[in-house]
Point group: C2
Chain length 412, copies 2
């Protein structure tokens, strides 16, 4: 198996100004194609630090993947450092020169000598086209090892890694690796593991299951390793269908789709609309839906009824309901969901009310208790959830649960 060290270059990473999200993204992509990342190293924008790190990494790993230090300013020295290490001369890379010139001319900016220098590259590397920025990537073959240098700007790095680096690495890797990610919500990791246990222990050695939890979600990733792609795909499909049959109630999507994307798609297909009446989520569901481009076709608006006044005056929740059952109750969320659906003339109405915390809990209604309702033309139905004591997490979990609840109520 191919081994790799990732080296991220940049002072901003060493003073804690920037979180190194590049490293985790790169590591995930490499692991997905079967490259084993054994170390991540962050060093400063210093020629010595870069040279020492690369030399040391080349002693033990097959691939050394660098990001950062390719900008036009004088603290960006990765390119000249690598050229010197690998005894290369600098030559102009014409396609990059043309692309960069067009970029500057198109914005009426001067194409200066510093910008021209961005199109230079060592004469012993394969130049990788950067379609999102001015600094091309570089691929060196050094005594049977591979050194790759990419821009540090995340979207430039991602484009280069996905389009130029991963396909080249896959060509050199004989193992075929296939993945399928199943998106689930509604049950914690350990309980899902129990439901999958018998099947999971019986999986053949070349098919593995990974549990990837994040707030509100649990991703399940099936990976199959082998030589015969067609065979592997049919094996993966078979195991996937078993997995689907074991937890049909928990699956809402595939391949890193978010619940708001699934819901948006379903509503777009049906040309249906939704509105929300939010108390404990305070606008988080609306915010989540409107974060997606195109959401205006299905999302009409929201009444964030944080105070009981607003619940009564705008949504028309009965004073009697609030007094008898309280704001956090089945009766209240049902009235809220129906009211917002009617007021905003949408096909569906979602309502939330709960104790987000960290204060406000009672023995009857502890912190983390949440009621969610979904109203449609057919029926209005409410469900109670019990989350934990972290306010931010409770809001996220309620948002995911509410959108998933809507998903199960969507019909033609």
């Amino acid at each position: 198996i191919m081994t790799c060290e990732i080296i991220n270059i940049g002072d901003e990473l060493l003073i804690g100004q920037v979180v190194n999200t590049n490293a985790s993204w790169m590591a995930e992509q490499l692991n997905l194609i079967g490259v084993n990342v054994q170390q991540v190293t962050v060093v400063s924008d210093s020629a010595d630090a870069i040279e020492n790190a690369v030399k040391r990494a080349l002693l033990t790993h097959d691939v050394v993947l660098l990001s950062g230090g390719l900008g036009p300013t004088k603290d960006d020295i990765t390119k000249t450092t690598l050229a010197q290490m690998f005894n290369a001369d600098m030559v102009i890379h014409e396609p990059t020169m043309q692309r960069n010139r067009l970029f500057f001319e198109g914005r009426n900016l001067p194409f200066t000598d510093i910008n021209r220098k961005q199109a230079e590259a060592p004469n012993n590397c394969i130049v990788l086209d950067n379609l999102c920025g001015t600094a091309p990537g570089m691929w060196f073959d050094i005594n049977g090892k591979i050194v790759v240098s990419l821009a540090g700007v995340p979207y430039e790095m991602k484009q280069l890694l996905q389009n130029e680096v991963l396909p080249r690495l896959q060509q050199r890797n004989e193992t075929v690796i296939l993945h399928k990610t199943v998106m689930t919500t509604g049950m914690g990791e350990s309980f899902v593991a129990q439901r999958l246990e018998t099947w999971e222990v019986a999986l053949p050695a070349h098919i593995r299951l990974a549990y990837l939890p994040s707030p509100g979600y649990l991703r399940l990733r099936l990976s199959a390793f082998g030589n015969d792609k067609t065979l592997l795909q049919s094996e993966l499909d078979r195991e996937l269908s078993v997995l689907q049959s074991l937890i049909p109630d928990l699956i809402f999507g595939y391949d890193n789709q978010l619940i708001e994307e699934v819901v948006l798609q379903m509503l777009l297909q049906r040309q249906q609309t939704v509105s929300t009446a939010e108390s404990c989520t305070g606008g988080a569901i609306a915010q989540c839906l409107t974060s997606l481009s195109g959401s205006s076709k299905v999302f009409k608006g929201s009444i964030v009824a944080y105070s009981n006044d607003v619940k009564q005056q705008i949504l028309g929740v009965k004073a009697d309901t609030l007094q008898t059952y309280g704001a956090v109750s089945e009766q209240t969320v049902i009235e809220m969901a129906q009211a917002v659906r009617q007021l905003l003339h949408t096909d569906y109405g979602i309502a939330t009310s709960g104790i987000a915390g960290p204060t406000g809990g009672t023995p009857d209604k502890p912190i983390g208790m949440v009621w969610i309702a979904v109203a449609s033309a057919q029926r209005t139905i409410a469900q109670q959830f019990q989350f934990a004591d972290n306010r931010q997490r409770n809001i996220v979990r309620t948002t995911v649960a509410a959108l998933n609840f809507l998903r199960t109520e969507i019909h033609n």
Copy 2:
């Protein structure tokens, strides 16, 4: 100056499952007390990898700070690896044993042998009390160098670093370092730098200014280095007051306060309330305010009027206004802000309407164009902003701008 390498241990960091937020937080804290972080290294839960990394780091740095690999499961091997490297025997640390026993008994959980092992530590280290978990920290003095090992769970690591590690490092560091962070919004880094240039270049060498941008914000951190704390504090205060006089219009707070915290405090003090009518922000301002515990005292609710129907039917924006000026206009946000203030009976009403992108722009109203209005008993005033073409960023920047706009309109 003291130099440091951070070593984060954990397979989850090398497969990209977890973003290494520990490294940036640790690096920031160390830099704040004048410790120079020169490298961050991430290695797997393997004894060889840990030992090699620590040995190599000890060759060049004064302090080696480890996190991770101190849990009770069999893949957690940092403690035994360090004990072996430094020829130590394991001994029970009684205070940890007692704390851990109480923890398990208090939750009616069995206190097993594996849990007991958590209270063991090498006999040649200073044991650092972990008040948030079962794995104590370890401080080794090795031939004039320092090796510190902390739990990898972020809040455990933070408690240990702040309470146990930073004070000890400060004792060994003779330099006094003082900081003051000024929170600004409303102007980009390069333009702020122009306004500060004359003053900044004239700063004495032992006082430095750092520009720390993040979406919607620009933090300015003044750091003073010296020996005499009293003198240094008065120098820092003097420079701070110059800075304040240069950009009084941009400053909204200090020391990492967020704009929603500042606004919440101001409204709480005056016992005043606010509501929002959001179009392009889609609930983001409401979500931002309600993310703070205690916000229910000042935030009553929001009308997320994403569609024009909702603007007309719930907020009563005139059809004529929408037709003549459009949804993204001064006239529309003024009507929205006044309407939500009256409907929800609050002292202030905020309204937003804009083209968040990535589609929907026109020559007249390009992507990133946003109108914001604030209504109060005294007056209603609107302002136009021009942001860029990233949808998520435009929503964040509009949210910060709207809350800052409200801040300037708050009065008794």
